[in-house]
């Protein structure tokens, strides 16, 4: 077992290159258990790539990634998930031809130890079915349990996306732009939902909406050109001159380019 002091998630000098382009250039970050982190940064800073590296979708070019003190870089996504890290996707990534209930149930099976069982009926797995109902109630889709995922409204699909992510009970949760494409009022309700379902867990989110960032995060990590240039409380980050220069500067530049 890892020592008790180990961070829930730690990145040590992680790099990632695609061809000749270096997207992540030595990113380091240590997230303590139970912390709620928002990762912000200008477009193209590598936020989604960072999530893909942590969750095992891509392999890191160099550096180390540790989950509860254990190295996970180089592992497959399902191996990392089994160790207690789950992620959501920016574009809803659902089992479209399965019902809402089945979507969630698929996501609880491994973590309840059912593995690849073909000698047990799903209907008899009391704990899996109860856990599924519990998650459905948490994401407020219990009335829509028998609807196919592809027939849900956009906001419902986003909720199901979160539901699949948290269903397995992972202790580290990565949410990639959970409120992308939602209206203001939907976003407010959704932030509340995310707070509820991730209570007590280590949370990392990528977000563009500053309202969401301040509503969800205890600490903010600023990613610029593949490096974490600041990692602190929201107030401290706002006051950080380096952040102001890099982040606001580029935001201004983007605005300038837009006109």
């Amino acid at each position: 077992m890892a020592p008790a002091a180990a961070p829930a998630l730690e990145l040590r000098d992680v790099t990632k290159t695609f061809g000749k382009t270096e997207i992540i250039r030595g990113a380091s970050l240590a997230v303590q258990p139970g912390e709620r982190i928002a990762i912000i940064g200008p477009n193209g800073a590598g936020k989604s790539t960072l999530f893909n590296l942590i969750s095992g979708r891509f392999g890191a070019t160099s550096g180390r990634i540790l989950l509860n003190g254990r190295r996970i870089d180089g592992m497959k996504p399902f191996e990392i998930n089994r160790l207690g890290l789950a992620r959501s996707f920016q574009v809803s990534n659902l089992f479209t031809r399965l019902s809402v209930f089945e979507n969630i149930r698929c996501a609880v099976l491994w973590h309840l130890g059912y593995r690849y069982a073909f000698w047990r009926f799903l209907a008899d797995l009391r704990d899996a079915n109860e856990r599924t109902d519990e998650v459905l109630a948490m994401i407020k889709l219990d009335k829509r349990r028998d609807v196919l995922a592809m027939n849900l409204t956009y906001a419902e699909q986003r909720a199901l996306e979160i539901g699949i992510t948290i269903a397995g009970g992972s202790s580290v949760i990565l949410l990639d732009e959970p409120t992308a494409g939602m209206s203001q009022s939907e976003t407010r309700r959704f932030v509340e939902l995310i707070r509820e379902v991730t209570a007590g867990k280590t949370l990392l989110t990528v977000e563009h909406d500053m309202g969401v960032v301040f509503g969800l995060a205890d600490k903010i990590a600023v990613l610029v050109y593949g490096q974490v240039i600041a990692f602190d409380t929201p107030d401290a980050v706002r006051a950080n001159p380096e952040v102001q220069e890099a982040y606001l500067g580029s935001a201004l530049a983007e605005e300038g380019a837009g006109h």
Binding site: K76, R97, E102, A107, W110, Y116, F118, I164
Partner: protein, 436 residues
Amino acid sequence: MARSASSGSTDYHFKPYNVGRWVVWGLFALALLLAPLLWTSSFAHTMLSQMGIAIIVCLSYNILLGQGGMLSFGHAVYSGLGSFLAIHTLNLISAGKLALPVSLVPLAGGLAGLFFAAALGYVSTKKAGTTFAMITLGIGELVWSMSLMLPEFFGGEGGVTGNRVSGKPVLGVSFGPQIQVYYLIAAYCFVSTAAMFALTRTPLGRLLNAVRDNPERVEFIGYSTQQVRFLSFMIAGFFAGISGGLAALNFEIVTAEVVGAARSGAYLLFVFLGGATFFFGPIIGAVLMVIALVLLSELTQAWLLYLGLVFLFMVMYAPGGISSLIMMNLRLAAFGKLRALWTSYLALAGTAFVVLVGAGAMIEMVYHLQLHAALGTEMRFMGATLDADAFDSWFGAVFVLVTGLALFELTRREFLRQWGTVQEEIEKEVKRREAL
């Protein structure tokens, strides 16, 4: 039996005793039991036996295609190698080297299917999608070429023959009469169908559906998609092998063509025709396969052409196959809307028949001229005598075809309009019920 999500997931805590399902399975068992008593000719018994065999292999193919989204072009490898291992096992029994009841020979086929699916599937299930399809095609060709290179095992041109009346009769059953073989096939068919249906209700079965829908996400909920595909592939191979073993007992001869690409293609084609979306679709496909291969091929030499045309129209207009057409109309019936459409159905069937007569006459005349020119140009078609070389015959056929096509198109448009209105009414009804 439908694996539709709307009915599939709701039953776990409301209905401890699902009456509808017992009725369906009871009827299936009854049909298997009574069919040879209703159709008593030996020809009918041969066909029923083949249908039982085909049902198992088509259902096993649909584990891959319908439930796992794996398009295999080489499923005959597993049913075929199962056949060969089974016939060799049978010959060992005949030679007195193996004390095994003949009724268990299909299990030897099943184990062979499982073994080869484990060995070859380990390679093919490493990949999904197009790559998987290409690998299965390659493996199919590989095994086919092996069958020419290893005549000791595959029996060369003549195949391997066997005698199913071997060993000691168990309870007076010698498997000499076809009816005894039929009931053996029926028993295997029922048990295999039940087992494959049960698979769709297990964690592996459901994860297989998840892999079909979205393999990427499966990797992020703790499952290896490769492992899910591999395990399912082995199960499909096992049941394909059982079907092959039964075929070996039924025909008492196994030739190399049972592992060939044509056989694999037939599985794909008829599972698709029956419908891959619903569990029972391949059963319909299997029955059609035997009817087409045995009856249609007797009826006309152009049967492959007709089959191809039917397949083409199915892919274009009803990609869910016959089973999805049935389920759509059951939905209409459940809302009491079928009555509004049956005249349209009648009109569609009538005009389609006219098209078929016109097209069929031309196809048959071409075939007659090409293949039976020595017999003269006169031929019989649907009770009429046609001169395949005469202008009148061709003019008549074209006239019938064009008239049929025009009428069909008119009725089709009218039908689509009606279908749209009916669907709208059903949607409204659903909304109304939800609001209650």
